[in-house]
Structure formats: C-alpha cells, structure tokens
Symmetry: C2
Subunit: 316 residues, 2 copies
C-alpha cells in the first residue's frame, strides 16, 4: 500500500467537520482504500463480486444433510437472480459473476487422499486469478459448495492447530450426529495430511473454490485491488496464504463475522476485525456484499464532507 | 405490530433459497418491518431522516471543549450538505430534514434548575411529532447539540440508576478534567431532580432535541412507522419513554452501538440489540443512516429471493 496516500487520507479525515476519530471504522476504511488505490480520495467505480462453486469428496463421510446436487442447483439460482447474493449485489452496486468449477467432478475425499493434485490446485488458482477484472476498484469474494464448511474447518485446523471441535459448526444445518461426523472427518483428514505446509495445505485439505479464492486474492494483490472476504468458508480458504506469508492478506478486509463458531477464532488467528456482525451464516459472499455498502458509505463521507475551514465551523 | 403479517413474513423467510435462519439479523429485520407495516412483503419507499438540534445550559459547567456556537455552525453545515449525515443519507436513500430548536435560547442549566418547564417540554415534543412525515415508511432520528452527551448521561442515570461515571464518556473530545466535570455535573443534576418520574425526567434533565425525539418517536408509534434510533445521545433521549412504558419503543431499532461507553449499558437496560458496531461516536443520525442500508438489504432479500419451489432447489 501507498503510505503517503494513506497519510494524506488520514490528514483529510482530521480536517473534516466532525470530532477527530468519530467516524470510527469508516475512517479506517477510507484510509485503507486510499493506501491501496494510491490516492488521497479513493473511489469505487466498478465493484466486482466473484462467487466460486465446487463440490467435495468429503461429502461421502456424511458431513452435510444436503445432497451435492444442491451446489449446481444454487449456481442455477445465482444465474437466474434468485439467491441472496443477487439481491445484495444489486443493493450494494456490485457486478456479480458466478464461476462453477467442474461441479460434476468433486475433489477427492480428504479423509482418504489429497483433495487435489498440485497441478489441479494451480489450475484452479489460475481460474480464480483469471476471473478478477483489471478494472475493478474492489473485489468481493464468496463461495458455494455443499460440504465446504468441513473443508473450512480442516484448512483452519491444519493452518492454526487446535482441536477439530474448535473449528466445526452446524454449517447449513447439521444435527448433533452430523457435527460428530464433521469433527471425525476433520480429525482423520488432518492426521492423514499432517506434514503439509503452506500451499500444500490447500491441495491436501482444500477444494476447487478454495483454490480459486486464493488465486483471486493473489491476483488482486498484484493489481493492488482491495478485497472483501466473506464469512468462515471464504476466510478459511485464505488461511494457507496467511501461513505462507501474512502480508499476502494485507489488502483483504473481512466483511462480517459469521455465526459459524470457528470464524471468530479464525479472525483472531488472521488478526482481522470484521466490518459487520449480523449473525449470518449463508456464504455466497453475502456478508462481503453488505460490507461493501459500509465501504461505499465510508468513501462518501471521506470525499463528500466539508472541512472545518470550508464550513466555517469552529474546532478544526 | 401485526402478528399475522409478521408470521407470514417468517414463513416466507423459511421458504427462501437459503438454510433456515442463515440470514440472521436480516431475517429479523424483515419480519419486524412486516409486523409494523402489516404486510408480508414490506417496502421502504420514503425514508425520512430527522436531525434535531438544541443548546444546553449545562455547558456553563465546562462539560464540553467546544463553544455552543458550534451547534448553529453544524446546522448550517447540514443545510449546506457538508456533514457526515448528508453523505450517509444520500448513500442510504433517506430524505434529510434538520430542525433547529431555538438555538439562541439554551435550556436551563440542569445542575441548577429543570432544563425546561412542562409547557416547554410539551411544545418541543409537538415540534418533533409535527416533523414526522405521514408518508414515511421508516424514520431515522438523530441529534446535534454541544454538551448533550452530558444530558444523555443524566437522562440515563436518572432513568436506570448507577453512578454518573457509568454513563459518561469523552463525547466530542473531553480530556480527563472534562470527564470529571461531566461526572460532577451529572451527579449534582440527578441529586437536584431526584424525585422526577417518567416524562418529568425529560423536562428536568433533558433538552429541546431530546423532547423533540420523544415526540417524533410517539408520533411514529401512532402511525405505525418503524424508527431507527442513532447512538448514545439519541437513544438516551428515549429512556424516559421506556421508563413510562417499555412498549413505547417497540417500533424502534437502534442503528448502532456507539463508542461512547454508556451506550452498551443503555442498550442492555432498554433490551435493544444494535444493528451495527463500527466504533463510531458522531451522532447526527449517522449510525442510524448506515443501519438503513442494512434494513434495505434485508428487505431486498426478503422480497426478491426465489423460494425453494420456484428455483427447483432441494431442501425446502
């Protein structure tokens, strides 16, 4: 990020007609955007939302009450405009693209084998990178994939340790027996792939949409485009990048903290403060799209407010 | 609120293409709006933002580092479009009206006398009520008034007990000595008016903008228009209504929890869960305007999403 632009934005905030710091997180968001865009007054013209969808062999372990066909059905729903993310992108002014990643070809069951080969992982990362529009001023990332809250728990557990139970939750609606199956699957998968480091964690325990999210995050980093990650599953996808080098996520905000219990722990491990906390647990990029609305509001204040000098208000 | 409409809205939420409850607070907000509008699919056509401004005799106690002239200067800034609330209302689609309440005539110093007579209090309540537009589907309330975080602390302390220190904070920028003066002023004011009950608390320890907020809240209640309260000062203005009858605030959401430390305690006393927590402490209705964006998003999901049956998604 551009330290001079960020400093200029911080100075501008101090000159605006409000008590210093009184816009709280909105001020930080404006300064963050200034740093990444390299200008004192950042703008969001085009906001791009990318939702990656994949299927997972770990569903053979009974970790999700829904059939894997729901992934493709929800992709069709995204394309028809009927899902939550469609409404939320319309409200927040984001252009939505949905990328279905070989849904008919689930990854391998992580309790028995690596989810993907290294080649496959890189290919999905390239697809994710290729989906990022060079003209976007911000990229929102989301995911869809039946069974992928188990993948998120496995990635988190392998990246940051702890017990499987620390990272699992009800996902799309597991009962107690389903929770026990999720914990058992995560335990066996992490034991099987215990030696994996950094991006090998992604191949061993991830999935296609997780790899695509990592590719998109890295592409955005190279282009200095800020990213808004969504909830537990989207954030967990980036954990291997953080393990490789925490600075790889410097350009990423986290849109909200999910109701899924592993997310708060994960955010602490990643040293990220979510923008929103609305007790949501949907995925699709829904929390990130809502946070885009706050980010837009932050920039409207930053760019549109009068300074003390302009307004003739005492105290500047 | 209309229980049948709320129930129909809750049923609709259960039919939409998402795991049950996964939109969290957004679902509750849609059901809340359905109840107050009396329809399964509530809409926000016109959103009205009202900012009431007043001046306070308690400034004689040195409770605020800014001169009282800043209240009028900020009103001029609102009218010129240069304040945070102007930008936030534009983003969230609210029509802003600013009502300056006899700024040249501050209330009495609450450490020495009742802030207002009963007559004056009722007159300001009527002005607040009269400002509510009958055509609004939601009303956002905010305030401006140098010294009014001390008023908010006094209203909260008189309504819910505790020590003055539990309710005071830095407001627009008090230093340690300023904080001590605030606590002392609140202690003396509450002692002087210790016998006050319900709406007498408002006359004794409130101010013009606090009375106007109460009037607007009651008018909106009579018209079944949901209200979004802002931060500490706006919420504290309604504490006397809650003391009189908690149901008087049933139609009120609280937009955000302020950084001002008394606000979280006040929200607990009022049994209100804020929509946002963005470390803000500005007032003006800023947190309420941001919450309107979340409320609009909630209704877009509620009204625009496909049902399981419509989308052909399994699991409904």
């Amino acid at each position: 990020a551009d330290a001079a632009a960020a400093r200029a934005a911080r100075d501008r905030q101090a000159s605006l007609t409000k008590p210093p710091g009184s816009l709280g997180r909105l001020e930080d968001l404006a300064v963050f955007m200034a740093g990444w865009q390299g200008v004192e007054r950042p703008q969001i013209g085009k906001a791009q939302a990318l939702v990656f969808a994949g299927n997972h062999g770990v569903c053979a372990q009974g970790v999700n009450p829904f059939p894997q066909e729901v992934t493709a059905q929800m992709v069709a729903n995204f394309e028809a405009g009927g899902a939550a993310i469609n409404q939320l992108c319309r409200v927040s002014g984001a252009e939505l693209s949905v990328v279905a990643l070989d849904l008919e070809r689930p990854t391998a069951d992580i309790t028995e084998a690596p989810a993907m080969t290294g080649e496959e992982t890189l290919a999905e990362m390239r697809r994710g990178a290729g989906a990022v529009s060079a003209g976007a001023q911000v990229v929102i990332l989301g995911e869809m994939g039946i069974g992928n809250s188990t993948i998120a728990a496995a990635l988190s557990c392998a990246s940051f340790g702890g017990a499987p139970e620390d990272w699992i939750g009800r996902g799309t609606g597991s009962d107690e027996a389903g929770l026990a199956r999720k914990a058992d699957a995560v335990r066996r998968a992490c034991a099987r792939h215990a030696g994996a480091q950094g991006l090998d964690i992604l191949a061993a325990l991830g999935g296609r949409e997780q790899a695509a999210i990592c590719g998109a995050v890295l592409e955005a980093r190279a282009r200095r485009i800020p990213v808004i990650l969504d909830g537990f599953i989207c954030t967990a996808a980036t954990a291997p990048l953080y393990v490789a080098d925490p600075r790889l996520l410097d350009h990423c905000l986290v849109g909200h903290v999910s109701r899924e219990p592993g997310h708060a722990r994960l955010l602490a491990a990643l040293d990220k403060t979510p923008v929103l906390a609305l007790d949501m647990a949907l995925g699709e990029g829904s929390g990130a799209a809502l946070a885009l609305g706050v980010l837009r509001a932050a920039l409207e204040c930053h760019n549109g407010m009068a300074t003390f000098a302009q307004a003739g208000v005492a105290g500047g």
